[in-house]
């Protein structure tokens, strides 16, 4: 489940940032805010986002979601709802209905919490709000409740129910400012269905929502939904449908990095199954680059690398040895490392034993069928190695070295390798040997092409970062005002000088 883990990871990162901030001013804030306060602060941020028309703040709130998710419980949520809504608001009651009523045991706990609340009093004024916060805040609270319902098996069906209600609500309100939160809601909906074991049932709903989102240019939701759908398809091995979905939709360019990473991973999977290894390779590489750092999202990182290693092998390359020493990957990839070793030596028998040994793991990773395809690559790597080390070798020797069944087979296999461009050379049938041609030099137009691609990538990166720079609204006005001031001061100065001159003149005149 790379998805869930990755989210956790991004949040962990955020967590660290928060910690750092906290460390900077330890006197003013000795302990991190309680979850309830954090929710309150987040709702304030959402409010600000809506009022300033600046989705940036909403994104900031959402980034802290999973760190927060781990710390919430029934009480925190109840308090948050109580605190943020006026006494008898309809929204409040509907939200509270999803939470179990306060157990009497909590009264005793109150003693602890009141002291805490008193300590925190200056930070959060106890005055009750008089009106409902923006609807986005309600959806945000619902999101938290859904995530909370995921934590226990008994509430899975309830979470599906709540997701449905939330989605209906979201769609009836139809507010653009809600889009970033909506995207997260969809993720939660998928999780609900998955935990409930009915992932396939959610598909029609996702498809309908995806259509609406693309009509409204709702990029966040669209990116999230495309990934949800792809994940659902791949979960049931429906590669055909997944491929069609990819070809019929365009992934929004403004999607966030984690969404992109997932999308590239799914694409890589699809392309690998379709034997389009080059495309799979580029996609997986993108997924690795876009994914959060290895330590923060180990699950996703490992899943991508497993596939990446296989695709690289299928392309006839041998993955870097260093990859398997990476602390996050070392253990997870050990089975794959054995496969790589077998392919590298070009020994079919070793390959087969390794495959049988780790079959269960490969099957769990859904890479078994891909690895079975490697058989031909084992042979190809063997031939390539031979072609590099011999300038001429008899078919009989090839047959012996690669453990092939017959010389006849060897001839066909070598012929195919030559046609497929695996090796350069030719077969001399009468003499029964293979002559290996010289290797290509590195000065063809391919070199400039590769070079051009790299330059293009760097330039793109530069342009993208320029585009990603943010300027606060109206900030330039201040500068303008400052410039105006400076100009005025200059004028005054000039005037003074002039006047001074006059004074001087006068003075001179006096003398």
């Amino acid at each position: 489940m790379p998805d869930a883990e990755m989210v956790k990871a991004t949040d962990k990162k955020e967590d660290k940032k928060d910690d750092k901030k906290d460390e900077k001013k330890p006197e003013s804030k000795p302990e991190p805010p309680t979850p309830t306060q954090e929710i309150k602060a987040n709702i304030a941020l959402i409010d600000r986002a809506i009022n300033d028309l600046e989705t940036r703040f909403t994104h900031r709130v959402l980034r802290s979601l999973t760190a927060l998710r781990k710390r919430i419980n029934d009480k925190v949520l109840r308090d948050a709802v109580e605190e943020n809504y006026p006494k008898d608001s309809a929204v409040k009651n509907s939200l509270l209905s999803w939470l179990p009523p306060a157990p009497p045991a909590e009264q005793s706990m109150e003693v602890d919490t009141t002291s805490e609340a008193n300590a925190a009093a200056p930070l959060s004024p106890p005055s009750k709000p008089t009106s409902d916060p923006v609807p986005e805040a309600e959806i945000y609270l619902r999101l938290l409740i859904i995530h909370h319902l995921h934590t226990s098996k008994d509430t899975y069906s309830k979470s599906i129910e709540l997701s449905h209600e939330t989605v209906d609500k979201m769609q009836s309100m139809n507010r653009r400012s809600m889009d970033p939160i909506a995207a997260k809601i969809w993720f939660a909906v998928e999780r609900s269905y998955e935990l409930g074991g009915e992932l396939a049932d959610a598909r029609p709903m996702f498809l309908a929502a995806q259509r609406t989102a693309s009509l409204r240019h709702d990029d966040d939701t669209q990116a999230s939904l495309i990934n949800r759908l792809l994940r659902g398809y791949l979960h049931y091995n429906l590669y055909d449908q997944a491929d069609k979905l990819v070809s019929k939709t365009t992934f929004p360019a403004s999607a966030s990095n984690p969404q992109y990473a997932r999308y590239h991973y799914f694409l890589g999977r699809i392309k690998a199954v379709q034997l389009n290894y080059t495309a799979a390779h580029t996609n997986l590489q993108q997924a690795i680059r876009r994914a959060p750092a290895a330590k923060t999202a180990p699950g996703f990182y490992q899943a991508v690398h497993k596939l990446f290693v296989i695709v690289e092998l299928l392309m006839g390359d041998i993955p870097d040895r260093g990859l398997f020493r990476h602390p996050v990957l070392e253990k997870a990839l050990s089975a794959y490392f054995d496969i790589v070793k077998a392919v590298r030596t070009g020994s079919l028998s070793e390959f087969q034993t390794t495959l049988n040994k780790h079959a269960a793991q490969f099957e769990a990773d859904k890479t078994y069928t891909l690895i079975v395809r490697l058989r031909q690559n084992v042979i190809k790597t063997g031939i390539r190695r031979l072609s590099l080390s011999y300038s001429r070798i008899s078919l009989r020797d090839i047959c012996l070295k690669l453990h092939l069944d017959s010389e006849e087979d060897a001839e066909y296999i070598v012929g195919k390798a030559i046609r497929d461009g695996v090796i350069e050379g030719r077969i001399v049938h009468e003499k029964g040997w293979m002559e290996c041609g010289s290797q290509k030099d590195g000065y063809g137009p391919e070199a400039s092409e590769v070079f051009g691609r790299r330059i293009g990538y760097c330039l793109d990166l530069h342009n993208e970062s320029v585009k990603a720079m943010r300027y606060p609204l109206n900030a330039h006005r201040k500068e303008l005002a400052a410039a105006q001031d400076a100009r005025e001061r200059e004028k005054e100065l000039a005037k003074e000088i002039q006047e001074g001159d006059l004074d001087d003149d006068e003075g001179l005149g006096d003398y």
Binding site: N237, Y239, A359, V372, V428, P445
Partner: protein, 265 residues
């Protein structure tokens, strides 16, 4: 009433199909009638509440249709029947009792993809088979096409050639001929790039031609130069000449770099 009629037609079809040799013509007409009947009963593409028994019958009819199309050598019709069956195999998998013929049908579909050289589709289909990976190697219907594909990819063409008699069902043999055609073309293209020249006799064995006349016709189709007196085939060498420098492309790329640099500085 419709179901009554369907039942009699179905029984008739089964009899006609099971007879040895089966009555292809009769099966064809019966199938056409049955399909109309199925549509009328809303069973061809089942929707809403349907009787389980009816669904099983509908599936049987379509399966017979698949085999009939193969025997009648009608691949497009095979395609149609197979895609109609797909609903039964995937969407109703949990509710219907498993069909004996299911994997035979799926295996046939795999072979068909193989003969049409649609390797990507072959793998996609293989991936979506409702089988655990180790059973792929034990199920005879699936193992056959999987092995064929593996040998084709490796280049062990002689194994493919030898396996043509080992088909798990009679219908598989229909595809063998077209498969051999595919192999021959594969081998030929390999030979074109791997050999400078080849004696006629060896070429015939490599391409599995029993006689030279077949080879000569084939060589003509591929445009090979045959020297009958020396008994040699010479393959026209593909261009080994100097690769041209793609000037236009280089100029365009350099101009683009210059423009970008200007923006940066």
């Amino acid at each position: 009433m419709a179901s009554q009629k369907l039942a009699t037609l179905y029984n008739e079809l089964q009899r006609a199909f099971d007879a040895r040799p089966s009555d292809l013509k009769k099966c064809g007409t019966l199938l056409a009638q049955l399909k109309v009947g199925l549509i009328e009963a809303g069973l061809l593409i089942p929707q809403g509440e349907t009787n389980l028994h009816d669904l099983v019958v509908a599936r049987d009819i379509l399966e017979i249709g698949v085999f009939w199309s193969i025997r009648a050598k009608d691949v497009p019709s095979f395609d149609r029947y197979f895609s109609q069956l797909h609903t039964f195999y995937t969407d109703f998998r949990s509710s219907l009792p498993p069909s004996k013929r299911e994997f035979a049908v799926r295996g046939l579909n795999l072979i068909r993809l193989l003969t049409q050289n649609r390797i990507a589709d072959f793998h996609t289909t293989l991936e979506s088979l409702p089988l655990p990976a180790d059973e792929i190697n034990t199920n005879p219907y699936i193992r056959h096409p999987v092995n064929l594909e593996r040998w084709l990819m490796e280049g062990s063409y002689s194994k493919v050639w030898n396996a043509r008699e080992e088909a798990p069902a009679e219908e598989y043999k229909f595809f063998v001929d077209s498969l051999m055609g595919t192999i021959r073309n594969e081998i030929a293209s390999c030979e074109e790039s791997a050999y400078d020249s080849l004696p006629l006799k060896d070429a015939a064995t490599l391409l599995f031609f029993p006689s030279q006349s077949g080879l000569l016709v084939f060589a003509q189709q591929r445009g090979w130069q045959v020297d009958l007196t020396a008994g040699m085939i010479t393959f026209a060498k593909k261009n080994d000449e100097q690769v041209e420098i793609p000037t236009q492309k280089l100029i365009a790329a350099n101009l683009a770099y210059a423009r970008e640099l200007e923006q940066i500085v």
